[in-house]
């Protein structure tokens, strides 16, 4: 059994609720879609690459982003859809670089497939650009050591897990997820911090992610 270290600072759990804001911007052809991807705010890119994670929690595997879904279903560009779906979001530490990758994938595809520029979506199947407005609330949960942390992981909502794992890393540009950062900085447990940071949360449902996190922390406590 590992010795239980007290954290320098307790981990305070937050939760995040969201609202969808409409932009009034829409695209029905690929070139228009591309120019709007270049133009819209980062909150829009974040929305369309993360919405599925919360709306379709029960589906795994699932279409990982709205861009991939639209080019496949509305334009019939399956190959581009696959390329967009397989962008490794974990590889990017901020929205800016993720957006650049999406733009590059679409531009390369259009260059190699000029006929794709001629396709129109049907009426009512245009791509509507939206954005996520996040509201971050403190929760009553906090952990002073790894054991308390594991107990909290059982109690917090999946929205709280979502906030600390996805939103903190990519949207708030904290480089890694909040859990790994606390484990390294406050508990001095670099090995566990790295192990959690290596987890690809995009291939789990949020409930599975909770289970995976609990299993990792428990294994550390029992080692």
């Amino acid at each position: 059994m590992a010795e239980l270290y007290k954290a320098k600072e307790p981990f305070r759990f937050f939760t995040r609720l969201h609202l969808t804001e409409l932009t009034g911007l829409r695209a029905s052809i690929l070139s228009q879609f591309l120019s709007l991807i270049k133009e819209v705010g980062g909150a829009s890119i974040y929305h369309h690459t993360h919405r599925f994670l919360q709306q379709h929690q029960y589906l795994s595997p699932e279409p990982p982003n709205d861009f991939a879904y639209w080019v496949t279903e509305a334009l019939g560009e399956d190959e581009l859809g696959e390329k967009l779906a397989s962008i490794d979001t974990m590889h990017f530490s901020n929205i800016r670089s993720l957006r650049e990758k999406i733009i590059m994938v679409i531009e390369e595809y259009m260059e190699g497939n000029p006929l794709s520029k001629l396709k129109f979506s049907r009426k009512n199947e245009e791509f509507y650009f939206m954005k996520t407005v996040s509201f971050v609330f403190p929760t009553p949960y906090s952990a002073g050591d790894l054991k308390e942390f594991a107990e909290c992981l059982h109690k917090i909502t999946i929205e709280s897990i979502y906030y600390h794992v996805f939103e903190a890393r990519l949207r708030l540009e904290k480089k890694t997820n909040d859990f790994s950062r606390w484990m390294e900085d406050s508990l001095g447990d670099k090995a566990l911090a790295v192990k959690i940071a290596r987890l690809d949360p995009y291939t789990h449902t949020l409930e599975d992610l909770r289970k995976a996190l609990i299993a990792m922390v428990k294994a550390r406590l029992e080692s």
């Binding site: 609720l17 969201h18 609202l19 409409l22 932009t23 379709h56 029960y58 879904y69 939206m130 708030l172």
Partner: protein
């Protein structure tokens, strides 16, 4: 009416805890809803549920009505029709009548709320009274292809609001104010959606003489051309060539709607040679609609145009596989082949129906996914949460808000 805590077994403790967390941040604010009627129609139905829930959560919520005569409501009905792209002539006199009544309401109605929440076009002009308080305009109708004259007239008022709310992304035009997407919702504890014992379902089937000997395909809709009941019969006939099944077309009374009666007659005429087609003119009875949905093998919603199409969420909540047109708010409720099947034509609907009847395991999976999709996105608890976040957003312009 159910209390908030009665939803815990359905949506989980954490969802209800979140509602209380947001409601706490709204303490001290007065929310004033304003619309044109206390009973009848979708807006009144929503407010009759929302207002008591918000009060139960400790949010000081009031509800006021504007006044208007027959002429005024005649004009607003006309506005409603042309905003939905139905042909009708709108004259300068109509705009004058609208403004005369609006002016009286502006003079008489006290807009005391910290947040004034105006529903639909009827009370829209009240915003000219706006002072330091916050104003929201809630558009409950499909304005994706509106009459431009009426839209421009309304837009002069809309741009004076702090925010506007639409039900589907396709309804949102470019506006200089913030716009939010908030979809309508179903109440899982209402008569239309509550779990029913098998004997209640069987009793309704007996009442309408529908045997349980074959798969049942059902569309619940008014007899209206935009719901395409004749197209549903055609799709059923294509399916019937390969799979023995029944079709139930059930909808409300069309007594005050001459075109509706004609559509009903045409459906009866088309169905008369096939005793497996059941055309039911139902009285307003939510339990019966619930029972018919629960007795069905597949539910159809083959509308040609749709505001939001909440009957789709009602069916999905009952874990039924659904075949529906890709119009209005339906694609928000169904992701094709994940939580149902979307179609664009009679042939497409027939093909999807055959697939589902031939693959019951796949159909069951779509229904289960659909139920979870509705649980996450289209129940009244989500609607309440978003309304409260909307109120908070009026005080924070940022994309990430720490509250």
């Amino acid at each position: 009416m159910a209390k908030i805590d009665e939803y815990i077994p359905i949506v989980g403790q954490s969802t209800v805890d979140d509602l209380r967390l947001i409601a706490d941040r709204l303490k001290g604010k007065v929310i004033q809803h304003i619309n044109s009627t206390a009973v009848g129609g979708g807006v009144a139905e929503i407010l009759n549920r929302m207002v008591p829930f918000l009060r139960e959560l400790g949010v000081d919520t009031r509800w006021d009505l504007i006044k208007g005569g027959e002429q005024f409501f005649g004009v607003t009905k006309k506005f409603h029709n042309v905003l939905h792209a139905r042909p009708d002539a709108v004259t300068q006199r109509d705009f004058d009548i609208f403004m005369e009544t609006s002016q009286k309401n502006i003079e008489e109605l006290d807009t005391y709320g910290d947040i004034v929440f105006v529903h639909d076009p009827q009370p829209i002009a009240l915003v000219t009274k706006k002072k330091e308080n916050k104003w929201i305009w809630r558009c409950h109708i499909d304005v994706s292809n509106p009459h431009m004259g009426v839209w421009e007239f309304l837009k002069n008022f809309i741009i004076q609001y702090d925010a506007a709310v639409f039900s589907a992304p396709g309804f949102s035009p470019r506006l200089p104010i913030r716009q939010f997407l908030i979809s309508p919702s179903i109440d899982p504890l209402s008569d239309k959606n509550i779990e029913l014992p098998q004997e209640t379902i069987d009793k309704v089937l007996r009442k309408y003489a529908i045997p349980k000997d074959k798969p049942i395909l059902t569309q619940i809709s008014r007899f209206d051309r935009l719901k395409d009941p004749l197209g549903v019969i055609e799709a059923y006939l294509q399916v019937k060539r390969y799979i023995d099944c029944r079709l139930v077309l059930a909808g409300g009374s069309a007594a005050d709607d001459p075109e509706g009666l004609q559509v009903l007659e045409e459906a009866r005429e088309k169905a008369k040679a096939d005793s497996d087609i059941h055309i039911l003119l139902l009285p307003q009875n939510d339990i019966e609609v619930n029972a018919l949905q629960r007795a069905s093998t597949v539910i159809i919603q083959k509308s040609l145009k749709e505001g939001f199409g909440l009957t789709v969420s009602e069916a999905l909540w009952k874990a039924k596989p659904v075949v529906a047109s890709n119009v209005g708010g339906i694609p928000l409720q169904i992701k094709h082949k994940y939580s149902g099947m979307l179609c664009h034509s009679v042939d497409g609907a027939a093909f999807a129906l055959k697939q589902l009847l031939h693959s019951p395991d796949y159909a069951r999976k779509l229904g289960e996914n659909g139920r979870e999709h509705v649980r996450n996105n289209f129940l009244i608890t989500r609607h309440l949460k978003e309304y409260m976040l909307l109120f908070l957003s009026l005080y924070y312009p940022q994309d990430v808000v720490y509250v």
